[in-house]
Symmetry: C3
Subunit: 205 residues, 3 copies
């Protein structure tokens, strides 16, 4: 029986893979290319985290992440034309994935006795780096560097985690509050189109 | 005296480096840039594999791979104009390299007691990831995500390796059959222009 | 009290981060995106080196590099319009960073008993790979593959280091001579516009 967290992780992986596969399909990638982009989106962030922490990449110990990405590929192949109507559902799934991946990244780092600021970075990498790899693969400027707040939601969630842990709140509540912060920041940012300012210093160049 | 496998490895490294250097030269890279792209094509896949497996990258223990890439650079500098006539020869060399790199990747992974599916992925990464890095360096969408079957030849070879090992065939035969499967799939795919279908779901976007 | 080398390291990190942030701002990145590109430029090379050497990435043990990159971001936000007049200052800072990063990379590698040629590569990666990551993030062909001599200055510095060490010159002098070689090659290359030849073999394609 999968636990509640495992089900959330499955949903997050599925949503991340869908996002990669859809962008790849818009660039006329073949099935294999789309699968690779989907997998990279789903597991890329966690892989970079595990390499930096000198751990075995998480997906090498359990094939469920690759199977889950394969299901996402079949889903897009079969229901591709109708996916566009599910935009809001996928946004929610993607945000749940972002929240969960952030919490997992923070916890894995703190368990190795790294300080909180490293854990916040690792949580952010886990959540957001997959999307950067996806955009490099499809030869676009990474979306998260230009559009509404995405990675900052992870930073916020990581800080809430640290705050809760420092206050001595129990693990489950810490995870919940941290994950919900990510969700909240992300959903508010998209709903109200909140962006960070852009830099204008070098326009003359 | 180099062994037969070492000679094949030399040929494969040379062919992979040539492919990187030629694409770099089409983009007006200087000699250094072309060399870096050639080296990255030749050793990039194996480096990612070794980092994920937490091994010392193979080229850091023996300078032969960098020397071999340098020879490829000199070759292109001297014979550049005539290389175009050798297209078929380089295709064969490149396919031999792909086959050999796949087998090496699978074996290195199985030797660390990882399951077969991890070994198949590592074999595919060893064979195909260098080309992805090459295409990112020259700022193109990776070819293997869109054109005829390339990485899938590695996947097929990895599976044949697993099948042979499971049947208890000797190591040499397992290596030979696995490598020949890669060669066969690759050559048939190019000869008959076999492609995977592309995704069409999101064209409306 | 920071040592002299730490002050140089601070200057180098600052200059590298500025270079990433300015290029990101020319592409209309938001503050977060610009910060990520700045950080990647400043610490990317050293991170790749540490991953290949199987060490804990240097910036994970001391937050000064991330703080320094944040200061660079604030600097660009506040003084952006006037930075253009400081072009020569930043070129000097950037070259000092390049020299120092190269020496650090060479020393870290030799301390692990790798041979000199590995150390030269690691020194070059430390100095030059950050700029490659920066250019991939902003979706441009890496500058160092096409413009005047940059990474070759690191190679020269690394070789001078090896030569000095082999002659038995003391560590401080070895570091100084090696770093000054990088500076000298880089400054001469820019002043006299010295470039490597480009490849022309495949223009017909």
């Amino acid at each position: 029986m999968p636990t509640f967290v495992q089900i959330l992780e499955f949903i997050g992986t599925f949503a991340f893979a869908i996002s990669g596969i859809r962008l790849a399909s818009a660039k006329r990638f073949d099935w294999f290319g789309a699968y690779v982009v989907g997998v990279a989106t789903a597991i890329g962030g966690g892989t970079i985290r595990d390499v930096l922490l000198d751990l075995t990449p998480f997906w090498m110990t359990n094939p469920v992440y690759l199977v889950c990405s394969a299901l996402a590929l079949f889903w897009v192949i079969i229901f591709g034309k109708h996916l566009i109507h599910l935009h809001n559902t996928f946004f929610l799934f993607d945000s749940i994935g972002l929240a969960l991946f952030t919490v997992v990244g923070v916890e894995k780092t703190l368990a190795l006795d790294y300080p909180l600021w490293v854990a916040v970075i690792m949580g952010t990498l886990t959540g957001a780096a997959g999307g950067v790899i996806r955009d490099i693969f499809i030869n676009e400027i990474p979306l998260i560097f230009r559009k509404e707040i995405y990675a900052l939601a992870c930073v916020a969630g990581g800080m809430v985690y640290g705050l809760c842990a420092w206050w001595g709140i129990g693990v489950v509540w810490t995870e919940l509050l941290s994950g919900c912060s990510v969700l909240l920041v992300r959903i508010l940012a998209v709903k109200y189109g909140i962006c960070l300012p852009t830099l204008k210093g070098d326009q003359r160049e």
